[in-house]
């Protein structure tokens, strides 16, 4: 599958997902279990994306400058700094560690 096809199919799927909330009878989704499943999938996926983007090099696990980005982001979020600043500090941490190393 090409990247373009994945983007277009992904857009169709995510739009239909949004629309499904407006189309199906409320009782199907008002089930609290569905809300919990949607929330849990979101948490699990974000956590998986963090691990993959921090430690993965192809199919190997490595420790490199990205770990510094993760540590700095934890501190910045702990201090309740805004999202954009957190992202920029993450980039700066990885950039600085790589430059030293």
């Amino acid at each position: 599958m090409s990247v373009w096809l994945a983007i277009l199919l992904g857009a169709v799927v995510t739009y239909l997902t949004k629309l499904s909330g407006y189309a199906v009878p409320a009782r199907w989704l008002s089930n609290p279990r569905m809300t919990r499943v949607a929330g849990a999938i979101t948490v699990a996926l974000l956590s998986a994306l963090i691990v993959m983007n921090t430690f993965a090099a192809g199919t190997a696990l490595v420790l490199d400058a990205r770990l510094a980005a993760l540590a700095v982001a934890v501190l910045a979020l702990w201090a309740r700094w805004p999202f954009l600043l957190v992202v920029m500090l993450g980039a700066a941490a990885a950039g600085v560690v790589r430059w030293w190393g």
């Binding site: 499943v37 999938i41 948490v43 998986a48 950039g95």
Partner: protein
């Protein structure tokens, strides 16, 4: 309130645009994601899988699964706003975290409607504008690793997860999912560990609260 949310979220678009290009997408592909997919979590997931060397089909799967919560939002907004005709189709596209939160934060029906549309359309315009700025910047910067943009991706995903970790249960799920991903990474083709984590999350959401209730019953005399 809607407007301030729109401005703040639009700014995240800069990081998305830059990271999309860093992941290897073209400026046009980054824009297509923001215009057509328009749900930040799914878009970040898409480029996150591509950046990790995953197949486009795995990126599509991760994006689709992260969009599932929008169906729940859509149900809430349909009940709250009751849009008809073409407005329903448009409302669906701008049904995201921010517009739902803004509408849900109001109590008067008029204010709910106004909050939803101002936040939804405002975020749409600014998100796309800033995606373009970010993608263009990312393109001009060259090698993303030199600027630590791979570190920015890590920070961005943590920033998206952080507000969801206020209770103990999501923290336990996040740790479990992270460990499963780390164990799966060397075993499976790139992109698939993400989908394994999604299955773990779905199973957790389906069963764990019941199990917690059951164990509470057992420990009670």
């Amino acid at each position: 309130m809607g407007l301030s949310i729109a401005v703040a979220t639009g700014l995240y678009g800069v990081s998305f645009g830059a990271l999309a290009v860093a992941a290897g997408l073209t400026v046009g592909q980054a824009m297509a994601l923001s215009l057509l997919m328009f749900t930040g979590g799914s878009q970040f997931a898409f480029i996150g899988v591509i950046a990790g060397g995953g197949a486009p089909s795995a990126a599509l799967g991760a994006a689709a699964l992260l969009g599932v919560r929008n169906a729940v939002y859509g149900m809430q907004m349909n009940h709250m706003l009751q849009p008809h005709g073409w407005r329903k189709g448009l409302a669906a596209q701008v049904t995201i975290d921010e517009s739902t939160a803004t509408a849900a934060g109001q109590s008067a029906p008029d204010e709910q409607r106004r909050g939803f549309w101002v936040a939804g359309l405002g975020v749409f315009v600014l998100w796309n504008l800033f995606t373009f700025v970010g993608a263009w910047l990312g393109d001009a910067l060259g090698d993303p690793r030199r600027w630590g943009l791979d570190g920015a991706a890590v920070a961005a995903f943590l920033g998206l997860l952080w507000p969801r970790l206020r209770q103990r249960e999501p923290v336990a799920l996040a740790v479990l999912s992270g460990v499963v991903t780390a164990l799966a990474l060397p075993q499976l083709p790139p992109g698939l560990p993400i989908l394994v984590a999604a299955v773990v999350g779905a199973a957790w959401g389906w069963w764990v609260p019941d199990r917690a209730a059951a164990s509470a019953e057992r420990t009670a005399p």
